[in-house]
């Protein structure tokens, strides 16, 4: 079983605010990922990390940024939230095998 956590689970915030979505895993996985999903759509990779101090942009362009200072922690930050950022954000990590394990997600609404 995967132990990967995301906070907050739900966030409603006004335009222009800075937000940070937290993601932590206790499995010691090197590879971590952020996906974005809109209702009825597929998940799109927006960021990934091979390990500490490694971050890369994913397939879907995103105004968010990420950091990886510790193996277990992979936060995502939006400097100035806009209504177009309203979505579900899903964090995942990968161990030895090809399966990625997902956290519960953060549903973000920007008013």
């Amino acid at each position: 079983e995967a132990d990967i956590y995301q906070t907050p689970r739900y966030l409603v915030i006004g335009t222009g605010k800075k937000i940070t979505l937290e993601c932590s895993q206790t499995m010691g996985h090197d590879k971590m990922y952020w996906y974005q999903q809109d209702p009825g759509m597929e998940l799109h990779l927006i960021h990934y990390s091979y390990g500490v101090n490694s971050t890369e942009k994913g397939d879907l362009s995103s105004e968010s940024t990420v950091s990886r200072i510790r193996t277990e922690h992979f936060p995502l930050t939006l400097e100035s939230a806009r209504p177009s950022h309203t979505s579900q954000y899903l964090c995942a990590s990968k161990g030895y095998y090809n399966e990625q394990f997902f956290g519960p997600g953060t549903r973000l609404t920007v008013l």
Partner: protein, 116 residues
């Protein structure tokens, strides 16, 4: 251009019967395929996977079939239970496609409803 397609947005089956969820892909560089189950407002849960060197993988009530020549895979759930009602996502990856990122390309999902 969608590389992983789930053409059925929804499927309804009776409890105890077989559920068959289908997935097609276009990129021959994919060599690993996964199925995830997702409830609303939760993250996807890994169900079962298959490598391109196999054509079948079973885990309890779940079986995944891979037809490489047709670039098609399917998930069979037998017998279906009401608790199986969720959105099912097919995903693909491949070292030749994504390198060491192991990034997953997802389909749009199929909503399965199992009627009691």
């Amino acid at each position: 251009d969608q590389q992983v397609k789930q053409n059925s947005p929804s499927l309804s089956v009776q409890e105890g019967r077989i559920s068959i969820l289908n997935c097609d892909y276009t990129n021959s560089m994919f060599d690993y395929f996964l199925w995830y189950k997702k409830y609303p407002a939760e993250g996807p849960t890994f169900l079962i996977s298959i490598s391109s060197i196999k054509d079948k993988n079973e885990d309890g009530r779940f079986t995944v079939f891979l037809n490489k020549s047709a670039k098609h895979l399917s998930l069979h759930i037998v017998p279906s239970q009401p608790g199986d009602s969720a959105v099912y996502f097919c995903a693909a990856s491949g070292f030749a496609y994504g390198g060491a990122t192991n990034k997953l390309i997802f389909g749009t999902g199929t909503l399965l409803a199992v009627q009691p």
